[in-house]
């Protein structure tokens, strides 16, 4: 694979190819690292194999790093060891301390670091192309390498600024509401076009003059801007799509740099991560019945306040107490619990698991039902339930459990709203029409924990489930309500 092309005989290109892993063992090592990463993802097909998969991932990374270090002349070992140690300690401490409910923010923050690292690597390759072996015979950076570098830098920059905004929205440093600039589509498309044109010009520009320098840095600057512009109009509940999309971008950025460096480990990883993020985005969009384009165009849920107000008349609903709820839950044969983002906000997962345990002691069959878009990132609810020691074989996905509501005695909704709204099935004018939802209306009794009757779900639509005959509204903080139910159950 690493054989020299016959015409590469000048000193320069020999130097270049020395960097490009002439030794087949080096290529093989990077390939093994890539295979380890594939096995890391493969392990996630089941919780029982997942931990072994994660260890494969670590092994792959170790192989990649060690191979790089032993095949390059290192000017200063201490500096590199120091850099790894600083980063490693920071990362490790964060990973140990982070609360599971804050996982979406953490992942967004980590994405931003990958993006920025990609920009830094691309910039370093641009400043010192010789070290990366991307100089052509004429002493200029190869055209194909220029395209890869500019693309890597641009995608990295988009990932960085986009993830910073996603982090700020998820972490509450910034309002989750969409921020809509006038003419934002024109601005965005114009910026994207400028990036593409400048990348093209940069690729074909003949020498390393100041004009070429400028073009590279302008591409990077515009990419930072577009990442920012793309994410600010997107609202909080669309964050699962955004986080997945940025995940995908961080992969494509790594792949682009892998092309520049001719490194198999980076290319394989980039392709894996890129497709992973893309598939997750697709799954999230499908679960909301929205097209990827409409999510990216943004603005969903922007007019929540105006949509709610006048159209909604006050309809009668039944309110219950914790004692009422406890009594009915005890009498039930089967209970299906539907957690949503509100459970995460209230940190109610531990109390909820306790409730499940108490009910199981009474002989009640307890199951958990999770909607693909529940929470702020894919699989968010599953992690929280796992954290609270809910066994994963009691947790079911939408399509696996939806038919069971007809036989269920109680559907227990905690912190979810839009994912149980029947308007998605019946009301063509509803913004959530077509979204797959839980058939809670088929359950004999519905218990709905909600802070107050005032707020509506993220989509800003009223929910008929509140007003059904079999619905009991439990109006309180989710955690407090569940704790009170537990008290009543224990008596």
């Amino acid at each position: 694979m690493a054989l020299l092309p016959p015409d590469n005989t000048t000193d320069l290109s020999i130097a270049a190819d020395a960097v490009h892993a002439v030794n087949p063992w080096v290529s093989l090592a990077y390939l093994i690292a890539g295979v380890c990463f594939i096995l890391a993802l493969r392990g996630l097909s089941s919780p029982s194999t997942s931990q072994r998969g994660n260890r494969f991932g670590m092994a792959g990374m170790l192989i990649a790093v060690v191979t790089t270090l032993i095949t390059h002349q290192i000017a200063s070992v201490a500096e590199i060891a120091g850099a790894i140690a600083i980063g490693g300690v920071i990362g490790f401490v964060i990973a140990r301390r982070i609360q599971m409910t804050a996982m979406p923010q953490l992942v967004a923050a980590f994405h931003s670091l990958v993006g920025l690292a990609a920009v830094l690597v691309a910039a370093a390759a641009f400043v010192n192309p010789d070290a990366f072996g991307i100089l052509g015979l004429d002493g200029n950076i190869l055209t194909v390498s220029r395209i890869e570098m500019a693309l890597g830098a641009a995608i990295g920059a988009i990932t960085f600024s986009g993830s910073v905004i996603a982090f700020a929205k998820l972490n509450g440093n910034m309002s989750g509401a969409p921020i809509l600039l006038p003419a934002r589509h024109v601005i965005n498309l114009g910026t994207l076009a400028a990036i593409v044109v400048l990348t093209g010009l940069f690729a074909v520009s003949p020498d390393a003059g100041p004009a070429e320098n400028m073009m590279f840095w302008i591409v990077v600057a515009l990419a930072f801007a577009i990442g920012f512009l793309l994410i600010i109009p997107i609202g909080g509940a669309d964050m699962p799509v955004v986080v997945s999309m940025l995940n995908s971008y961080s992969g494509w950025a790594a792949a682009a740099m892998g092309f520049t460096l001719h490194n198999t480990a980076m290319i394989i990883t980039g392709a894996l991560v890129g497709s992973s993020g893309a598939i997750l985005s697709y799954i999230m969009c499908r679960a909301m019945n929205r097209s990827f384009i409409s999510v990216i165009a943004g603005g969903f849920g922007a007019d929540t306040s105006s949509a709610g107000g006048e159209a909604r008349e006050q309809r009668p609903y039944k309110q219950g107490s914790a004692a009422d709820a406890a009594f009915m839950l005890q009498q039930a044969e089967s209970v299906i619990i539907i957690p949503g983002y509100g459970m995460a906000v209230a940190q109610a997962q531990h109390a909820l698991r306790e409730m499940g345990d108490l009910l199981k002691k009474e002989g009640v069959n307890v199951k958990y039902a999770i909607h693909p878009v529940a929470g702020r990132m894919p699989g968010h609810m599953n992690v929280l339930l796992a954290e609270a020691n809910v066994p994963y074989d009691e947790v079911f996905e939408l399509e696996d459990i939806n038919s069971e509501f007809a036989q269920a005695d109680v559907a227990f909704i905690i912190g979810a709203n839009d994912v149980v709204n029947p308007a998605a099935k019946t009301d063509k004018s509803s913004p959530i029409y077509g979204m797959p939802v839980f058939d809670v209306d088929k359950a004999k009794t519905v218990m709905f924990i909600k802070r107050s009757m005032g707020g509506v779900g993220y989509a800003g639509v009223d929910n008929d489930v509140f007003y059904m005959d079999q619905t009991m509204m439990l109006l309180a903080d989710a955690k407090k309500m569940v704790e009170e139910i537990n008290k009543a159950l224990a008596e």
């Binding site: 960097v19 594939i38 991932g57 830094l120 010192n128 892998g258 997750l280």
Partner: protein, 93 residues
């Protein structure tokens, strides 16, 4: 390696990624994101090359900064994934 060889690896890896990721159970989608995050930090290879090279201080410092950022991600990403995966338990019977 010529461009076409690299492109072939890339395209085939995309297909591998497609099938592997579809087989990931939805319950593990959050750990999937955390671990993909960690492995995409393999970009540290590029940062190490820049940091190791002598002669160009600007590139060296860019590289070192890249090494720090990627290390945060590698250690943080794998550690948080391991922490999450350790929580997934089966029913005790």
């Amino acid at each position: 390696m010529d461009f076409i060889t690299i492109l072939s690896i890339f395209v085939l890896a995309c297909f591998v990624g497609y099938y592997v990721v579809w087989s990931v159970t939805p319950a593990l989608h959050t750990p999937l994101m955390a671990v993909t995050n960690a492995i995409s930090s393999v970009i540290i290879v590029g940062a190490l090359i820049a940091a190791a090279a002598s002669g160009n201080p600007v590139a060296k410092w860019l590289g070192l900064a890249g090494v720090v950022l990627a290390s945060v991600n590698i250690f943080g990403g794998f550690a948080v994934t391991a922490r999450m995966l350790a929580m997934y338990k089966k029913k005790e019977r």
